[in-house]
């Protein structure tokens, strides 16, 4: 279906200024792509830091729980 739809579309006159037009649109999409990639890297860093913080908090909570359990067993 997509193939027949594409066949119906008028041909683009790329022979004249095609490289300039393609260049302009590629620049825009490349910039957006680079920007989104940078943001995705930052987001993955946040996720990593969050996981690290969570692990630290869980370790701290476990360490707090252990002496309390020891005290209760002594009593």
């Amino acid at each position: 279906m997509a193939g027949s739809l594409l066949a119906e579309l008028p041909a683009l006159p790329l022979h004249t200024a095609g490289k300039y037009v393609a260049g302009a649109y590629v620049v825009l999409f490349a910039l957006v792509l680079v920007y989104v990639a940078i943001m995705a890297i930052r987001q993955s860093r946040i996720e990593r830091d969050l996981a690290e913080l969570l692990a630290r908090e869980q370790a701290a909570a476990a360490a707090e729980r252990e002496p309390a359990q020891q005290e209760s067993s002594l009593v």
Binding site: A17, Y20, V21, A24, I46, A60
Partner: protein
């Protein structure tokens, strides 16, 4: 907070951009003089308009920041200007490509439209170094806001001055002198809408990432303080940055005006101690 509605906005942006591209390449008629090269107009002009509007919006946010001292406005102003700079780069590159195809050279120094846009772009290119040069976050945000307001006022003045100029090569597509066929006008409006939506989506995306990072930083500081209270260690100082630091309470609720909405001396967001 900032992530709300981001998905819907992203879908709308992709849909409008796709429609705009289809209209540009398969529906809008070819221009008589420039032919296919004129298709650059549908991306270059919206980019320039949105970029200049973004600078002005950054100035409006900066006014809000100076009025309320709420650091969230500073963050919005920063993101709007940052995004406008990126769109400005795209404007300059697409404009140069068009100039090469139309005039035969990449740049024309005697053309007021081009040079004035470059001046505005270079003016705003100093925004981030200005922020980075000031270590104290309170002063950094205040000075940056003053800069954003002043430069934001310069943008429309510059635009009007160029429009009043009588000698220019750059085509005028908006205003009384333009006689675009309705198909071209409609395609242009859809393209403008698509680029404006792209700007808004990317701004929202950046605000969401920055906001999440600030929250994480505040959480870590809280944990470090608690650990420091038990072990006697002191928490590490925040690294120097051009990006605004948002007040910890501003992330969840609107801070009272009297509180100032400022950060600590070392740039660390003020975080309430547990139980305080």
């Amino acid at each position: 907070m900032y992530g709300k509605g981001l998905r819907e906005l992203s879908i709308a942006t992709v849909a409008v951009m796709a429609v705009a591209l289809a209209l540009v390449f398969f529906w809008a008629p070819l221009e008589a003089e420039q032919g296919f090269l004129q298709k650059i107009f549908y991306v270059h002009v919206p980019l320039a308009i949105v970029s200049l509007c973004g600078f002005v919006v950054g100035g409006v946010f900066a006014i809000q920041h100076l009025r309320t001292r709420d650091s969230r406005w500073d963050m919005r102003s920063y993101v709007a200007i940052h995004m406008s700079l990126i769109f400005g780069v795209a404007t300059l590159i697409t404009g140069s490509i068009w100039a090469k195809g139309s005039w035969g050279h990449w740049w024309e120094w005697s053309e007021p439209t081009l040079v004035s846009f470059l001046i505005v772009f270079l003016l705003y290119a100093t925004y981030q170094p200005l922020r980075f040069a000031i270590e104290d976050p309170e002063r950094q945000s205040r000075y940056a806001s003053v800069f954003a307001v002043t430069a934001g006022a310069f943008v429309p003045l510059n635009f009007i001055a160029v429009r009043l100029s009588s000698e220019y090569l750059h085509p005028r597509v908006l205003g009384a002198t333009s006689n675009l066929p309705w198909q071209m006008s409609l395609t242009f409006v859809v393209s403008l809408l698509g680029v404006a939506l792209l700007f808004t989506t990317l701004c929202k995306y950046e605000l969401t990432v920055k906001h999440t990072r600030m929250q994480l930083r505040a959480l870590r500081r809280l944990a470090e303080r608690r650990d420091g209270a038990t072990s006697g260690a002191t928490s590490a100082r925040r690294a120097r940055s051009a990006a605004p630091s948002v007040h910890a309470t501003a992330m969840t609720a609107r801070p009272p005006r009297a509180a100032g909405g400022t950060t600590g001396a070392a740039g660390a967001p003020r975080v309430a101690r547990p139980g305080s």
